[in-house]
Symmetry: D2
């Protein structure tokens, strides 16, 4: 059985990897690293795991990561890039959940992330881990850059429209709303319950780090330059992203039914993208805890603007779930292994 | 002292009128009608009012509304229209918080509200109660149609752009998010805590009743036809609307600073519209309980798409507060009377 | 493979049964009844189930329940009692999640539930489905009365103290707090999001229907009469009960360590009761979606009052999960089958 | 007009003092100190105050506090005690919202707060600011120790019972639940939205700092030693405390009606304590933003255990509102001045 490990196991994406991997039948999770909690039982730190694991947190410097088949990095940005080169040399595969390898152009990365990249030579080798586009490359990848939470559902939502070439590529709008777990588990005033609860606001309207990642992805769908207005908002919920996407039809004779068929055809064979029936309004809770991105297609008043609704759990299809989906492809497991999780309702 | 009454005092806009009017120094609230609760003390039904009133609910058929100077209707749609004609004949002024008199064209109203209008002859007499546009007409009005919650902040947000004629009128988008109190106090599964909490979704994307109201208002700002894509969403909060508005600049040489000045100039003398400093992200909580609409202006990446952020408390500037603002104008009180309320923070 | 069905599949305990049973490897769910939704696809009503079932809702009068091995009743109180006698006669086993068979004394039931019991002759046959006490009787039962949500964790929390006879039986206090899903999925004003959210209150202090059920259970633990003060409160959360239990030690020389051992010994072999380390504060979220009751034992200031903290998910160990645990015992499956669910964190 | 200032103006009790004092007609707020934000406009930091103040934050070392009539300390514990002696010498009155002067016995304070008290000689001079007990002493006080949030409602709830000597003083229980704003505005993981939301837990069961403060207060009501079991819990709400209090009647012949009268008589002349009608369940929201403590009296099943329900807004009657009430008494204003605030509903 293949052996895997997690570096950065005490954050929200870390514990979500734990939740999924501890019930995965085809791999063995042998190592969970956390500098801060080294030596502590994992289920002492996360009592929700009591009864499911006896693992202790290891300090990453003490962990024998080279002996593993695959390592997940669930670390803050600009951390993985310092450890990944050595691991790859040892033949260990890597899925990086941070942003270190998502942007192909190192100078763009440096502009948005404010520092020099530690191993730009690896960027061409890194495969962008959106299986719905790059499945075959992921199967053979040694290093997968797991997509950001917003980028996953925004790219999936625009994908059929851009691939088919039926919308104006220069006036795309993504009005996106995310639950607060997307901000991570660090102590901060801005994400206190007393600040977030019974409240709602936009943030980063002038420019969010996911913008270049999304535009890089959209550019590869169909032909021609792309321009996206991306407005993130903070939802007073824990898990869930809802992206409301707007695009202008080039040909207004396309009916809502035709658009619906376009989406259904594009995702028919995808395990983790669900196109809902016409007229639907997917809700974030319908995918909570599950690795699904649910989409709905609308053309209100039969006007030129198409509205796509896309929901995902930012910690699952937007992070840990997609990372396991990528691992499954990289290690030759069934793509769905460990990911057949029914969402909690209510 | 002028005497006023409320018909429909047991819903959320009703109790919000009570909260404001019971502390209003210049008028006397003498009558609160509720068919269901007739005879019960108002503060028994709403314990938050204990110590502030001794009023009992009256059945509307028993209430001596003709003796009042002004009556608020906080009733479900298609209720006020049956009582308003008689009151106006008696010289009683009316502020209707429902949708009965908001649409000037009775056939449009009938299409969206699904029934015949009871007094279409009054529609030309009804003044649309958005003081930032119709202040002078409101002062002299006998019947004011208080705007809907979404329409208030969406119209205020687009107003400077459309009046100045600097954006494309055919590609307007309003991505709006509302707290659940906007759905009223009726028993329903869809607005149960267990359905709404830790959840988020769009609704009515195919067509929401506020669309014709908003388009009617936008049409009067500047010249030419208007087309709006309006996408409402349900927020897991009690009070608050956040509208994220998108418009395309006709002239891309206009700087973000120039747009900021345009907004500041337009609303400089408005008591209840607050243009925040450039780069701001207004939050719904900053206006909770207050009669303020707060706006921020953005032009991300200096591209052609302008993004306006607008927040209001749907029960105050979006309903009861604006209704009292209209009453103040109609009865000759100071426009701010009773409305200088500091929002709760946090 | 054994075949089972659900009557009352459109409420919260119904959909929770669906979530668990659709992933249960050892039984087949063949029938889901709902009068209101008969003929509709189950996953149309609950989109969270898309991809996991093709079942349609059946009207209970059309369903061939007699052909099943076991039927769950997730119906409102006073419904199951009309159908259960006929099913039992056909040899179909029943787990009733409502209150119809929980109280052994029909006259007590009638006092608290306000009507005549339809089949009091079945009460002696009904086994109270708390496996931690009645496991052997449940294995042989034809009819199991699944315990109420509050009664489950309150009985488990007091159990070691009362069985050991070390606390005063006449001054027991249970200060219990429940999430709103415990109130069910019916339309009601009291459980609207706008009423419950950012709010907290006690209810039913004068007398809650779970009081006689709990006292009946406590009475069977140890010797002598029992008197409980039970104060339920409504939490602004969806799932979860936290019971804070108070009891007075008869012998103050018993240390907190001795109490801790007492609890650990009592539940050592229980799969679904977890005694946390001394000094712990279990949180409702740590059992969300899981069939676990987590307990912690405290003796503050080393005084005579023992404080037990107990948490459970009211829809799982407090309803559907415990029902499946009972089914597993009744049908000879492994007790843990289908119930090894990791809680969502966060 | 009397001049007052706030030290520690950027926390939750600080901004709540601002909300109240900026609308107080009889005093002038001239100074708001915050080391971190010195030089920044107060309404830039708290946009909810835009339009209500032009004040800037001052560094406390630069502020001319000696020129004021009264200073509020809304600082973390163990801060005020370093500045208060000098101010008192200058004749400036002080209301301290922290715990520095609440415990009369310096050694007890030192045990619970983990450090040496800086000015134990002032403790005998400090008046405990619970007006319902110490009104006359507060009027003449130079230094008022504003009570803690839990202690306020727990003392008010037990007060009539202990003063009348009708309950056992050795078996008192306070099961208290607080909103998260009580934990203050510091960055911390434990109070993140993603940790607190849709969750509930007890904390500090082994011993909370408010325990000695409450027991000190209860001791002064009636005769004899007192023993309290105090269990605090964290509610997923922003504002509000609900204390459920349990006491055992010495004389079981006392009816619920008699208990109700006892409470009504005790608080008849109190402006800010509201005894609800028999059988009521006060909710935290009914006092949100208001300086009211609402009480209800129950004697379930007519047994020996009395249950008192007490709610307050922890930031108002539990902190800033009570501080202003104390200020009103100390400066000779009307006790209700600035505090006639109607709670938001819903």
């Amino acid at each position: 059985m293949k052996k895997v490990g997690i570096v950065g196991g005490s954050g929200y994406t870390g514990v979500e990897l734990l939740r999924i991997l501890l019930r995965h039948q085809d791999i063995e999770l042998t190592t969970v690293c956390s500098r801060t909690n080294a030596g502590m039982r994992v289920d002492q730190y996360f009592p929700s795991l009591r009864g499911f694991t006896d693992l202790l947190f290891t300090d990453p410097v003490d962990a024998d990561l080279q002996a593993l088949d695959l390592v997940f990095f669930a670390t803050p940005n600009a951390t993985a890039m310092h450890s990944v080169p050595a691991l790859l040399k040892q033949g260990v595969k890597v899925v990086d959940l941070s942003a270190d390898f998502r942007i192909q152009d190192a100078s763009v990365w440096q502009t948005w992330y404010g520092q020099t990249h530690a191993c730009p030579e690896l960027l061409p080798k890194a495969v962008y881990g959106l299986p719905e586009i790059h499945r075959d490359r992921i199967r053979n990848a040694e290093l997968v850059a797991n997509p950001g939470c917003y980028p996953t559902c925004i790219q999936l939502g625009f994908m059929p429209l851009l691939e088919a070439g039926i919308v104006d590529r220069s006036t795309l709008i993504a009005d996106a709303k995310s639950g607060v777990s997307g901000a991570g588990r660090g102590a901060s005033v801005a994400t206190l319950h007393a600040e977030v609860s019974d409240n709602f606001k936009a943030y980063g309207v002038a420019g969010h780090r996911h913008l270049p990642e999304i535009e890089q992805g959209l550019l590869m769908m169909g032909e021609g330059p792309v321009s996206l207005t991306f407005t993130p908002h903070l939802l007073p919920i824990v898990r869930g992203i809802h992206a409301t996407l707007y695009a202008t039809l080039r040909d207004e004779s396309l009916s809502e039914e035709a658009l619906q068929s376009l989406f259904e055809d594009r995702f028919r064979d995808e395990l983790f993208v669900d196109v809902m029936p016409q007229g639907s309004h997917p809700e974030t809770r319908s995918v909570r805890g599950a690795n699904t991105c649910r989409l709905a297609v609308h053309r209100p008043q039969n006007r030129a603007t198409v509205v796509i609704l896309a929901v995902e759990d930012n910690l699952v299809k937007g992070a840990a779930g997609q990372a396991v989906q990528n691992m499954n492809l990289m290690l030759g497991c069934e793509e769905r292994a460990g990911l057949e999780i029914l969402p909690l309702q209510p």
